[in-house]
């Protein structure tokens, strides 16, 4: 995430002490893969990693875009990579067409489907629009998604279903204003942990969605950071968004935003109303008036 912000702000980043205390120090494979992806979408970036992989120096280049193809590391699902790409995509020199290969659903990251139904409408709200704006799941990586009646159903068979069996569920709630809240759950991967009953999974997932509804807000917890990023990079006007409680990821992200763009959000807690779910947070900021400096003008 810091790398993608660095790419946007054009500031060089040095990250030191990456897991220097652990048994297995240095960058993980999926992080290395992510760095490689960053290298692919940019031009002229300089990346230096020391031998043990505990120090990373990243000097961003120009966001290039275009057609890229990337093999994502199976440790993390595509959502991990996709989130960063969604942040960067509107600021590329050329329209980005990225083909990501990897795990579509897993238990740590938001799945592709969730991002598809929640993040893309959000982007459209911010004026990121166009014919080409779409996410297509060509093949399932880890597991075919099992759905329910109201829910996006996608059952892939044969080769499209990938190599390892599994199932997952993502639930999406749409508000009358057209914003989306989502929750999801995936089964344990093959050979790990105890097998999960699909019924239990479904029920747990529904509970998660209720939790999400309880938190409320215009943006669901997964996309909080994306919305805040767009707000921060917007024109030099006041932007406001009401979201549920800040997720740790978002908090970390807000700090990054401060260090990279000197943007401080005004955070106001909205007290809980009767039977309207949990506390909300009203985030207000003034954009930096960011302009896409990679784009060519004629």
């Amino acid at each position: 995430m810091r790398l993608s912000l660095a790419a946007l702000s054009g500031r060089a980043v040095r990250i030191t002490g990456i897991r220097s205390q652990e048994l297995n120090p240095g960058l993980r494979d999926f992080e290395a893969s992510f760095i490689r992806l960053m290298d692919k979408v940019t031009n002229g970036s300089r990346i230096e990693i020391n031998e043990t992989g505990t120090t990373l120096y990243y000097q961003p280049g120009i966001l290039l875009g275009g057609k890229i193809e990337h093999d994502c590391h199976p440790q993390r699902s595509i959502g991990y990579y996709l989130e960063a790409l969604l942040c960067l995509a509107p600021f590329m020199k050329r329209p980005l067409k990225a083909i990501l290969k990897g795990v579509t659903n897993d238990q740590t990251d938001p799945s592709v489907d969730t991002l598809k139904v929640t993040a893309l409408p959000l982007m459209q709200r911010f004026g990121v629009d166009g014919e080409g704006l779409e996410l297509k799941v060509i093949r399932r990586g880890m597991a075919p998604g099992g759905g329910d009646i109201y829910i996006y159903t996608d059952h892939m068979k044969g080769a499209n279903s990938g190599k390892s069996p599994g199932f997952g569920l993502s639930l999406v709630a749409e508000t009358i204003n057209g914003t989306f809240l989502s929750a999801e759950l995936a089964s344990n991967p093959q050979g790990q942990g105890s097998p999960v009953l699909p019924e239990d999974l479904g029920q747990n997932c529904a509970k998660l969605l209720l939790e999400e509804v309880y938190r409320g807000g215009c943006v669901d917890s997964i996309n909080q950071s994306l919305a805040l990023l767009y707000m921060a990079l917007g024109q030099q006007d006041v932007s406001k968004v009401q979201i549920g409680p800040l997720s740790p990821y978002t908090i970390e992200f807000l700090r990054h935003l401060k260090s990279f763009f000197q943007i401080v959000f005004k955070i106001e807690a909205q007290p809980m109303e009767e039977q309207k779910g949990g506390d909300k947070v009203l985030m207000t900021c003034i954009g930096v008036g960011f302009s896409n400096i990679s784009k060519t003008v004629t």
């Binding site: 990251d109 409320g216 917890s221 807690a269």
Partner: protein, 1241 residues
């Protein structure tokens, strides 16, 4: 006349009466002569041609839309910064005089020496910052970038000068500010007609440069060395009503036209190393857009810096408060020109000192020094930290008065001082007296002055305190007392800062009233403090928050005392101060323990959750505090109001304060002992940096959704929830036990059947359950629904009716308007401290910016006559990279520009020297390097320079250009792209020679050095000079680098073969900012930087060595020697006799070289000769014919002649015959007679 018949009545047929009558009649018929011919004769004005009508309509619409600009959000602040008026013109044209006259016109003040910008108030809503632009190109460039209005002075007796046009071009490139021309020296014209002519000529020239109808002012003669009062007044009116267009660059960047500059370097450092880098602070109105703290700035003429610190100060030249009167009060006509030294005011870091003339006031001032000396010593080490805090506020000392809110202080105190410095020298010279007219203040001042006197007892009486300051600054090495008074003040402010809590002003009052701080209040205090620190400066916030957390942890184990001591350690300087001043300052004393103590009770609010060091927990904690702070309930009403805000602050702190908090924790852990060190950072940092970077919100303590309470909490989030009327949901749910059942009911229930898509919940069983609804509510609902519908309809109608011309443009404009309102309203109710934290410093504020590591030359060579600008940089504009730009040589520049010749560019805020490469794009997209810029065409250029957004204009000047060299602007253009990969190529021809030639194949050597090189170019196309095309086939073994190639035709050994290749060119990485402000002012015009190769060679006297091939040599032509033709004997034998050489030799008369040379005619000659021969043929024919004819005639003639001859002869014969006959007869007769006679005889 008695019975005469009455005269018959004659009706009038002419005259006015008849006309009137006729008119009346016609009007009665309805065909009177109407004024309007359209009415009189409507048929003549009907549509004649539909096409024409369409055209007129179209044109009208075109003209209408042409007036539209793209609407932009109006981001001008409520109190805009003063308008920058730049007075520009060649020397001796009357710039300073004009400024002086304008200032006098607006403020009735006479300034003698004008240096730097002069800010004056010209109206109830307008202020001007007037600055003079010298004739130096660097200042012109810098000022053109910040100017709102340019007064362009021209000496009419001389006409326009080059500088004028140069300045206009600079303006054009960097966005065109308003330009108003002023003609001076008009009194030199004696002849009125000539004057008029000159005026007209100059006006039209000015119009072509600016725009048609641009305002040009005429300042006729001078009166007593000043312009005529009325004319200046008119000019002032024009300036003060002028409207301005927002300029793109200016609106997108914060900038500062510095009023004054101060060197804040530690004198000790300066003493140790005179050339050490300096710490400098600059003051001025912020313009453009928001400036965020610690952003990057550029000082044109110095370089790039990061803002070390910034703070806002009270406006030194505030607009008048009440707007009731028509005109400005005399006292409101303020003037502010620190560098010009208006009214003997000298500025210190955060205070204004007024040079006093009065005797007793002066004495009082001197007495103040002593206690401050002690304080200063105690505080000396911590000077900088206090500094940072003090930057934003400005107060004076009060030993025993109760502290005032900062706003009050600022407003009353500062403004008054301003007024005094100008108008009230008698009564109000004393700063503090004027500000707060109370006895206590005076006393305090007295004591201060006393102290001061002791310290500087040896000082001359006449010396004012600021003089002392400045001297000590300069000396630097002296043991003590740089800024004695100032530091004292800082401490005071420190104390006040601790007290001041803008958000909880009333609570503070309470605290002050009851000397025993209650436990509850303390908690509040603490949070207030924290909040305040946050807003004040981050450093402090770090310290405080760190303390707090550490204390929280340690409290569980250790006693209360420990965090206290830790706190005290941190706050040592402050506490010292308190101890020192404890006897006379009770308020400070009281509050600061409050701060330190307040740490203790805080952990009460933190529950068990806190011990898990997890983010999630923290969040829940913070949220919990909003609801769970039970101890607060007993408080007064206002506490509840405060409460909401506080929770927000907690959140804020959680997000922005926590990072530093953790760091501090780690440090603390080190200090305290091994326990912390091992346990704490582990989990924390793991979570932070090394943990899973996942955006999913982990649910640690999920609600039990099977419980009904949990369900109730979200019930109203759904469309089925309690939205319009209260009735339905609760009653329904009351009957249902099962949770999911409730949803099912609602889903299919009465209210929202129309929108099933909204609810993604599972709904299988659709049990209807309407029974719970009473009739009455339903009717009510119906009623409200109907009303709603009506209202909506009405709104729709209104919208339609009002927006008859509601175009897209109008909508857009309205939207922008809304946004502007939102922008203004959002932070309006907050005080400046908080606002600055969120939005940065907003334009219009008077701010102070501190910058570190400024080269010492900047201070040493500071000249206040040169503009000092602080231009803020956007994100990634501080980086350096490759820029692609479209460029055109200026048509007035004498020379074309050469690739790789360094030029000085003015781009964005910066002026820098760099090496451009010119190129042009070929049809196939190739970027071909050009050696020179085209004469009258755009080309592209790539430079290595600062990243600047696309579309930014720039221009280039030749670095060695001096004034004598004509037009100095070499090129203008615009940035197109910022691609880091450069793709400029230049042509490279590889040459080879054939060494073996077969039919169409040839072996060629000399083009490459190795087979590997050849392999790289396999299948490349090659060509011979004579135009035979071919292809490179394969490398040969020997000689090295030779290859086989095939051609379309047979080569000759004398042919040269070449291959055309493209070689990428790298852009030289030269970025050399023009550091004109670092030079002594005498040398500023002559900055050259890197010289061009030509210049270098010229300077060093190096001649260019030409290549040998291009030198001229005498042409030596060998005499051609031909060998004799040799015919073998066998052949000779076979030859026919005639052709045998020995006979041949005899045949040849003349030797070969004596023979006439064959003439080969050109086609024209051939034509001529053909024509000639044709003509001669014709002629010959004619002649021949003539001949024949003549011959014929001659024949006839001859025949005739012969005939005549014959006739003649015949006649002669006959005549002769006749004669002979006669003669014969005569003879006969004679004879006869003789005979007879003889006979007779």
């Amino acid at each position: 006349m008695e019975d005469g018949v009455n005269k018959a009545h004659h009706q009038r047929h002419s005259g006015p009466k008849a006309a009137r009558k006729k008119q009346r009649r016609l009007n009665g018929l309805g065909v009177g002569d109407e004024e309007d011919p359209r009415k009189r004769n409507p048929k003549a004005f009907t549509v004649q041609s539909a096409v024409r009508m369409a055209k007129t309509f179209h044109r009208a619409q075109d003209l209408k839309t042409k007036k539209h600009h793209i609407p932009v959000v109006d981001r001008t602040p409520l109190e805009p910064p003063p308008i920058v008026v730049v007075v520009v013109g060649p020397p001796k044209v009357g710039k300073s005089t004009l400024i002086r006259c304008l200032i006098r016109n607006f403020t009735k003040q006479k300034l003698t020496d004008i240096r730097g910008p002069v800010t004056i108030i010209t109206g109830k809503k307008r202020r001007l910052s007037i600055i003079e632009c010298g004739n130096d190109l660097n200042s012109m460039i810098d000022l053109a970038k910040v100017a709102d209005l340019v007064l362009m002075l021209t000496d009419a007796s001389f006409g326009f000068e080059m500088e004028t046009f140069e300045f206009l071009n600079i303006c054009q490139v960097h966005g065109f500010p308003k330009i108003m021309g002023v003609l001076t020296h008009l009194d030199t014209f004696k002849n009125n007609k000539q004057l008029r002519k000159t005026k007209k000529r100059l006006k039209h020239r000015f119009w072509t440069e600016v725009y048609q109808g641009a305002k040009l002012f005429y300042l006729s003669g001078m009166v007593h060395g000043e312009y005529q009062k009325q004319e200046i007044h008119n000019l002032g009116r024009f300036i003060s009503v002028m409207k301005f267009r927002p300029l793109v660059w200016q609106m997108a960047h914060p900038y500062l036209l510095a009023d004054r500059m101060e060197d804040l370097t530690n004198p000790e450092d300066v003493r140790k190393n005179r050339k050490c880098d300096r710490k400098v602070s600059m003051y001025g109105y912020l313009r453009g857009t928001y400036l965020r703290k610690s952003s990057q700035v550029h000082l044109p003429g110095v370089g790039d810096f990061t803002v070390n610190e910034a703070g806002f100060l009270p406006d030194p030249c505030p607009l008048p408060q009440q707007q009731k009167k028509r005109s400005l009060h005399e006292k409101e006509r303020l003037i502010y020109a620190p560098m010009s030294g208006v009214g003997g005011i000298v500025y210190d870091k955060d205070a204004v000192y007024i040079d006093l003339g009065g005797s007793h006031a002066h004495r009082a001032e001197e007495e103040e020094q002593r206690p401050s000396h002690e304080l200063v010593q105690s505080l000396f080490a911590t000077h900088s930290t206090i500094d940072t805090k003090m930057a934003s506020s400005k107060v004076s000392l009060f030993m025993d008065s109760k502290p005032l809110a900062s706003e009050e202080l600022d407003e009353s105190g500062y403004k008054m001082a301003q007024e005094e410095k100008l108008f009230d020298p008698e009564s109000g010279r004393v700063r503090r007296k004027a500000v707060f007219d109370g006895d206590g203040d005076d006393d305090e001042e007295m004591t201060e002055n006393e102290e001061e006197e002791d310290d500087t007892a040896s000082e001359d009486e006449a010396e004012s305190e600021e003089e002392v300051d400045s001297r000590s600054q300069v000396d630097g090495g002296k043991e003590m007392s740089p800024w004695p008074l100032k530091v004292l003040k800082l401490e005071e402010k420190e104390a006040e800062v601790a007290v001041e809590r803008p958000a909880f002003a009333d609570a503070d009052d309470d605290l002050e009233m009851d000397s025993e701080a209650e436990l509850t209040d303390e908690e509040e205090n603490e949070s207030g403090d924290e909040e305040h620190d946050l807003s004040h400066d981050s450093e402090k916030a770090i310290v405080l928050s760190g303390d707090k957390t550490s204390k929280e942890e340690s409290r569980l184990k250790t006693d209360l005392q420990k965090p206290m001591t830790g706190e005290q350690k941190e706050k040592e300087p402050t506490l010292n101060l308190e101890v020192d001043s404890a006897d006379d300052d009770s308020t400070v004393d009281l509050t600061s323990p409050g701060i330190s103590e307040s740490k203790a009770p805080n952990p009460e609010s933190s529950d068990i959750e806190e011990q898990k060091d997890d983010y999630k927990e923290k969040i829940s904690l913070s949220l919990e505090t909003t609801g769970g702070l039970k101890w607060k309930e007993g408080l007064a009403q206002r506490a509840a109001d405060v409460f909401k805000q506080q929770s927000a602050l907690n959140l804020q702190k959680l997000v922005y304060g926590a990072v530093s908090e953790e760091k501090d924790e780690d440090e603390e852990g080190d200090i305290l002992g091994g326990i912390f060190h091992v346990s704490r950072p582990d989990t924390e940092s793991k979570k932070k940096g090394n943990g899973l970077d996942s955006s999913i919100f982990p649910v640690k303590n999920p609600h039990d959704w099977d419980m009904e309470e949990a369900m109730n909490s979200v019930r109203d989030c759904f469309v089925t929830g309690k939205w319009e009327s209260d009735k339905d949901a609760t009653t329904l749910l009351g009957e249902d036990d099962e949770v999911y059942g409730a949803f099912e009911d609602l889903e299919t229930g009465e209210v929202h059947t129309g929108k099933p898509g909204e609810l993604k919940q599972d709904s299988e069983g659709g049990e209807e359950d309407d029974s719970g609804d009473p009739r009455g509510t339903e009717e009510d609902e119906e009623q409200t629904k109907r009303l709603d519908k009506k209202r909506k309809l009405k709104e729709m109608f209104n919208a339609e009716y009002d927006d008859g011309e509601g175009t897209y443009f109008h909508d857009l404009k309205e939207e922008m308007q809304k946004q502007a309102q939102l922008n203004r309203a959002e932070f309006d109710d907050q005080d400046d401290e908080t606002r600055v934290q969120y939005e940065g410093f907003r334009p219009g504020m008077y701010i102070r910016v501190e910058i570190d590591n400024v080269p010492f030359e900047f201070v040493a060579n500071f000249d206040s006559c040169y503009p000092l600008i602080l231009g803020g940089l956007g994100t990634s504009e501080g980086n350096i990279g490759y820029l692609q730009m479209r460029l055109k040589k200026h048509r007035w520049h004498k020379k074309i520009l050469k690739t790789r010749d360094p030029l000085v560019f003015s781009l964005g805020w910066r002026r820098f020297q760099t090496i451009p490469l010119y190129y042009i794009e070929d049809h196939n997209g190739r970027h071909r390097l050009l050696k020179y810029t085209p004469e009258h065409m755009h080309c592209s250029a790539t430079i290595w320079g600062p990243i600047t957004p696309q579309g930014t204009g720039f221009f280039a000047i030749s670095p060695v250009a001096d004034t004598s060299k004509g037009f100095r602007i070499a090129a203008t253009g615009v940035v197109l792209d910022l691609d880091k990969s450069v793709t400029i190529v230049k042509k490279l021809k590889l040459v080879g020679f054939p060494f073996k030639i077969y039919k169409n194949t040839a072996f060629i050597k000399g083009m490459f050095n190795s087979a590997l090189e050849v392999a790289k170019f396999e299948n490349a196309s090659i060509r011979s000079v004579s135009g035979i095309r071919g292809q490179l086939k394969k490398a040969l073994r020997t000689p090295e680098g030779a290859f086989r190639a095939s051609f379309e035709d047979k080569l000759l050994m004398s042919d040269i073969v070449f291959m055309r290749t493209w070689f990428p060119v790298s852009v030289p990485k030269l970025y050399n900012p023009v550091t004109s402000l670092l030079q002594p002012s005498s040398e500023r015009g002559t900055w050259t930087g890197m010289r061009t190769v030509g210049q270098l060679k010229h300077d060093l006297g190096i001649k260019t060595k030409p290549t040998k091939d291009s030198l001229y040599k005498p042409i030596a032509r060998e005499v051609k020697h031909f060998n004799p033709l040799y015919i073998p004997k066998m052949l000779q034998r076979a030859l026919p006799f005639k052709s045998k050489p020995k006979n041949q030799e005899k045949l040849v008369g003349a030797p070969l070289d004596r023979q006439r040379v064959a003439v080969i005619k050109s086609s024209h000659e051939r034509k001529i000769s053909a024509l000639l021969s044709a003509l001669s043929t014709v002629n010959a024919y004619k002649v021949k014919k003539q001949h024949r004819k003549e011959h014929q005639q001659h024949k006839v003639f001859l025949v005739q002649k012969r005939k005549q001859q014959e006739d003649k002869i015949k006649r002669q014969k006959e005549a002769r015959k006749k004669i002979y006959r006669m003669l014969g007869q005569k003879e006969k007769r004679k004879m006869k007679s003789s005979l007879k006679g003889h006979e007779e005889a």
